[in-house]
């Protein structure tokens, strides 16, 4: 009996956990930055808060991972939440987009705080531009790539207010 060629296996799309972390290259256009800036928002997520009730969040009920914390690791307190939208806009303006999209939104974004902490923002609600963020630790290689692009942005932006963030980040992640 002749053998028939078996049907091709459908390639299942990988889960979000397999997303390789990297910056988009080449960087996004100014138009892409403007479109994302118009809709993006950053919301706190209890998963990355050591003390979620201080942020008026419910306790995290997910799996018990060795998580990083905005408050315990980066000293990003509830009082700092008012700065979150500006930080998100800073990262978008700097073109710190991840290389993968979900429903048109970058699945990852990065930004640099004045005190030098880099935050990675992960898409919470694809298509709506909702993100949550957590600190990038000192030994993570992605920090070098983010800083290289951010340095280029700051050097061309002619905004003295951004210079402390660059200097402090270069000190923190050196």
């Amino acid at each position: 009996m002749p053998r028939r060629k078996p049907p091709s296996r459908s390639a299942a799309e990988r889960s979000s956990e397999s997303d390789r972390r990297d910056l988009r290259s080449p960087p996004p256009s100014n138009q892409e930055r403007r479109l994302l800036a118009a809709k993006a928002s950053l919301g706190p997520y209890s998963k990355h808060k050591k003390n979620p009730t201080a942020y008026k969040l419910k306790a995290y009920e997910g799996l018990d991972e060795d998580r990083t914390f905005c408050d315990a690791d980066a000293d990003f307190t509830p009082a700092d939440l008012v700065r979150a939208p500006d930080l998100l806009q800073r990262g978008i303006s700097a073109g710190l987009f991840g290389h993968k999209n979900k429903k048109g939104d970058p699945s990852l974004l990065w930004t640099v705080d004045d005190n030098g902490w880099i935050y990675e923002a992960c898409i919470t609600n694809p298509g709506y531009g909702d993100y949550h963020a957590y600190p990038v630790l000192r030994n993570e290689a992605i920090a070098r790539k983010v800083l290289a692009r951010y340095r280029e942005y700051v050097e061309n932006a002619n905004e003295p207010a951004l210079e402390p963030s660059l200097k402090n980040a270069e000190d923190r992640y050196s």
Binding site: R14, S15, E17, S18, R20, R21, D22, K47, H48, L63, D64, E65, D66, R67, T68, L108, E120, C122, Y134, V136, L137, N139, E140, A141, I142, R144, K145, A148
Partner: protein
């Protein structure tokens, strides 16, 4: 039988429900040494495993296995960020603590009379 040079052990909760089978207690060992020993300050205990997504770790090894196995550091120079992102465990995913481990091919140059031979081994350093 001797222990393999490199071993990954993952342990999941006994009664993990649907959606709870990703995070595992993961222990890494090489040449009989535990590479994932850490001090849990909150629990005030030392443990030999870290808790994170086993799926993410598996994908990272699958994506990078060739480079982990065969790519070495040229000239002993400090690696750039792209190289580190393919060889350092802390690059697997954000928001989770990973052991600061780098995997690379180790080249050992040996002079044997008039010829040089290369010996290779995977080093977890």
């Amino acid at each position: 039988m001797t222990e393999p040079n490199f071993k990954i052990s993952a342990q999941w909760p006994l009664h993990a429900g649907a959606g709870e089978r990703d995070v595992a207690h993961i222990r890494l060992r090489a040449h009989g040494e535990t590479l994932s020993r850490l001090l849990d300050l909150e629990a005030k205990e030392e443990r030999e495993y870290f808790r994170t997504s086993a799926v993410s770790l598996a994908f990272w090894f699958a994506d990078n296995w060739w480079r982990l196995r065969y790519e070495c550091l040229r000239d002993g120079r400090f690696p750039d960020a792209d190289w580190r992102m393919r060889h350092e465990l802390t690059s697997v995913s954000g928001g989770t603590r990973w052991p600061p481990l780098m995997f690379r091919r180790l080249l050992i140059l040996k002079k044997v009379i008039r010829q040089e031979t290369l010996e290779e081994q995977l080093e977890a350093a």
